[in-house]
Symmetry: C2
Subunit: 600 residues, 2 copies
């Protein structure tokens, strides 16, 4: 199976060279002493060591063993529990939490970078941490002081873990349909009753207690999404000091058998008048959830990027090793009885695509995380709004596109191995199976596409798009005299105009027929994603060219960056054309068939 | 899991209306009384019943149970053996074989249609038959009379099964590297020694003997592909009457653990001076194999088409059933608490894509099979050559594109199910896992692409392409007065010219740098595939329009055909643009990075 090697050099490139964090985080007193190379590199190196040596070795066994369910208990694969303890001891569970509750108060960006390594080395294991983080963030933002003291501190310490209980069997994307009830009790708590499905990390043996964050309806709550409230439901009830009391009436009744992420327990959770505590205002549960959902979407985007990275690593090693046929331009390695397959253009194209997706995806995910930090910490309302809007616009793009491109990279990974890619032992097919979940959970690609086009672009009357195209125009303007960038900037400039035009075109059509929005949405998301990638690749090319011009000891690294940018522009960016053409044909042929007439 | 329902109406559409088999097979005396609706429909109905009721119910269990290996023996999943017996009793193993050896002498086209149903209902089970068929064909074409009497008759009767033993661990796509040795023995037989991997159906419990067709090298054979010979190696030695004698020295030493097709045993086969018999001339084994390989490629194309079909069926049923959110244009089903997801354009687009791939794929696969029949049976050398060349040109396209589009359809199938698609129980993820093998075996997509561009198009100096564009031009010419087809014909006409131009462009570039061929090949294959599909969809639209104009009781069926053609032209055919643009950027950015500089 592919050995995971944290791509530290490229992570540093994005952090220090592209995002310039040493300078940009100076404005925040909380981070001024922390976001420098020494501190950040130390975090990254400890995390890389943990990922490469502690959890990567558990990845394949975790897949093969899976989780075991017996009488309400879930046993995770061998080594998962010990790795969790080590992770907590290393302080990673407390990374971004408020120091008041035991946290280290580090920014989201650092967490996202570390999260990339966790997901790349062991997706299933990393999910336990991801869900816990979601619960922590929700408590931090919406919990009372007492709730934080009781629950958050233990989550931060990694002694307990958390979950997010949203989905019900009939209510996935459409949370307005949920039925779980919350009955107010005399003591101020609530009795929560209902069944939740697809609860990742809902039950396991990593920690002594599990804190569920649960969506449920109060009696007489309005129907739909405006009648949903949020509750804390601990697995074990606890006293005010956090000591465990009796078992609460929430049990895992089954775990799912899944295509992938076997090491993570996907639980059916039954709440039978379980004791719960309201977080945030009544009937505003979905609003409280949005904080989590947006963070979770960036987190899922990072999983997609991690899939691209590990699929690339595995395939690259194999492509350098495996011998088959001779290069079309003549024998390259006469001492071998065939050339390594990396000489073949079709293999190279797949590797370059993976590389362009991984490195471009890293740039996008980290870029978003940086803006999440700005939104959270800036005191400048204009800066806050700008970052908030950019985040709103880019989050569905990152979530959908990084996971879809992660799936594509995983596919190439198997393909480069040929028939061997299909064999479990090599570990490449596991990447496909694990990554497959990422375009489904936290809002499918189709949901993200509607979010982007309907809620973000059209509802803002194009403002959120305009922010982005302005950013690109600004970059073009600032670099117009840079001859090395000319071909990139010309492409970007054309695409930028085309992007605004096609958006206007959809806007106009949507006024005649709202289905035009849905029919255009997925193409629009892909179309937009390639342009966003093109912008980031142009920025990265600029930096690389600058370093090369100045003189550097890392010439090969920067040359590779330039060549990958060129590859992206030559071979991938053209995909915008198909999506543009498809948008232009409108909704008619999509909507033409009656539901009854699809098959005979 | 999706229930398999044989798409008989659409199969009949392709057979009788598109390919006009009743008329076209009249020219062959062998088929004149057989290829009529009565006979063919009866075959199809018996096969559909067998597939829907005998092997489809074994599909999911087959995946879950898998094959078991113990001390050289393989146990197939429950029911597989009984289904094989029933299949043989129904006469399907003898379908296309020469009546002289117990066969029914039916054409390949009928086998391909039945094979679609077998693969759609139980891919793993169907493979046992596919491999047997390969062995039968090889024996029929290259075996001696005695070999046929001894081995072929038993394979035809389904009492024995066969395999094709090509791959070795270091030699997959590059068969020139194989090392298995064949030592001539005093009695005229050969002692075969070596290890073969990825031998589908290499060992199992379905039949009493297994006839391996094995590639091996004679002593002092020339190196590479010109020194490979072909041998029959039976699992049990047999006397001239076909009675089983002692066990031959060929054993299965392990079976692979794979991403999918768990019900089919993928075996490591060890030959330890096993007794073998030469088939065909010495050192011409690969040439003898080509017959099999080309048929096998059409067979694999059919697997891809079958994946599109079953993924479509499963997703369609779910999309009509599952409720989530309301249509953007307003509530469609007020009596329900949400609309079925088939109202949403993004879901419809995926369903329509699957439908366009399944029905277009069926047209292409059957079209090829018809030409395979012509090549085999025609006495007209011109007709033979035309069909042979068309087959040579279209086989890599069908193999690569039907399997890639099958994978895409399978992905959409999971996606339409949302999170539920990831759960094993629903059966949608199994389609993804099973279908994944199809772009790998029988020559990867990349190998097919090189075959198409380098061997078929460039080596023929464009002749094989010209045959195809002439066929399209002829269709355009014949229908130029048909106003209903105008928009299709205009597109086809432009694409046809563009196709020739881009081929010339590649030809020119390849003279400067042979790597241009490899760099263009995969894009060229996709590009060509979409045009071939466009041609077939235009032909199908023409038929549907004609039926509607004439008046029909099946108005909805033909309307759906027209609307699917329109969808293909609106939403899928645009993909040619990205591939064209990508080809035009050439090899430079693909070849730019040194093998050492892909990662740092």
């Amino acid at each position: 199976m592919p050995l995971y090697k944290a791509p530290l050099r490229d992570m540093q490139f994005v952090l220090y060279e592209l995002l310039n964090i040493e300078q940009r985080y100076q404005q925040f007193p909380e981070y001024a002493d922390q976001m420098n190379m020494d501190v950040v590199n130390q975090y990254l190196e400890v995390a890389a060591d943990f990922c490469e040596n502690e959890i990567a070795p558990l990845n394949q066994n975790g897949d093969q063993e899976g989780c075991h369910f017996e009488q309400g208990k879930v046993t995770t694969p061998r080594g998962f529990k010990e790795a969790h303890q080590k992770y907590a001891e290393l302080g990673f569970t407390s990374l971004t939490a408020d120091p008041k509750y035991g946290g280290q108060g580090m920014p989201t960006l650092l967490r996202i970078a570390i999260s990339e390594m966790l997901c790349g080395s062991n997706w299933s294991w990393a999910m336990y941490q991801g869900l816990s983080h979601g619960a922590m963030r929700t408590l931090e933002h919406h919990g009372t002081e007492q709730q934080k003291q009781t629950f958050l501190t233990k989550l931060v310490a990694g002694i307990w873990t958390g979950t997010m209980c949203l989905t019900e069997s009939h209510a996935g994307s459409d949370l307005g349909l949920i039925r779980t009830r919350a009955e107010p009790q005399a003591d101020g708590s609530y009795a929560i009753t209902g069944e939740k499905i697809f609860i990742s990390a809902g039950e396991h043996d990593l920690a002594e207690n599990i804190i569920h964050i649960v969506l449920a309806r109060l009696p007489n709550a309005p129907a739909g999404t405006k009648g949903i409230s949020l509750f804390i439901v601990p697995k074990f009830n606890v006293d005010e000091f956090g000591h465990l009391l009796e078992r609460n009436h929430v049990v895992c009744s089954a775990i799912e058998h899944k295509m992938g992420i076997h090491g993570n327990a996907t639980c059916v959770m039954n709440f039978d008048a379980a004791q719960g505590f309201l977080i945030g205002p009544e009937n505003r549960g979905l609003n409280c959830m949005f904080t989590f959902m947006n963070t979770a979407r960036i987190g899922t985007a990072v999983q997609g990027l991690a899939a691209s990275q590990i699929a690339f690593q595995g395939a690259l090693e194999y492509a350098r090793d495996r011998l088959a046929m001779r290069a079309l331009s003549g024998i390259q390695y006469p001492e071998k009885n065939a050339d390594p397959i990396i000489v073949h253009p079709a293999v190279r194209s797949m590797l370059m695509t993976q590389k362009a997706f991984a490195e471009g995806g890293r740039a996008l995910a980290y870029f978003l995380a940086q803006h999440a930090d700005i939104v959270e910490k800036t005191k400048d309302p204009q800066q806050k709004q700008a970052s908030d809007e950019l985040l709103a616009f880019l989050t569905p793009i990152a979530k959908a596109f990084l996971t879809e491109s992660g799936n594509e990279s995983a596919k190439h990974g198997v393909q480069i191995f040929g028939g061997h890619g299909f064999i479990i032992e090599h570990g490449m097919e596991q990447i496909v199976r694990d990554a497959r979940i990422s375009t489904l959970y936290e809002g499918t690609t189709e949901i993200q596409s509607l979010d982007l086009l309907a809620r973000k672009v059209l509802k803002s009357e194009g403002k959120l798009l305009k922010n982005m195209t302005d950013l690109i125009d600004q970059f073009i303007f600032e670099n117009q005299s840079n001859i090395h960038l000319k071909s990139y900037l010309d492409r970007l400039s054309n695409l930028n105009m085309e992007w605004l035009e096609i958006t206007q075109y959809i806007t106009k059509n949507a006024k005649q027929n709202p289905e035009e929005i849905g029919a255009a949405s997925v193409d629009y998301l892909y179309y937009s994603s390639y342009i966003v990638f093109a912008y980031l690749w142009a920025r990265m090319a600029k930096i690389a060219q600058h370093k090369l011009d100045k003189g550097t000891t890392e010439e090969k690294f920067y040359q590779a960056k330039l060549k990958t940018a060129q590859f992206f522009y030559d071979k991938i960016l053209n995909r915008t054309q198909q999506h543009l053409a498809s948008i232009k044909t409108g909704a008619e042929s999509v909507m033409a068939l009656d539901a009854e007439d699809f098959a005979f």
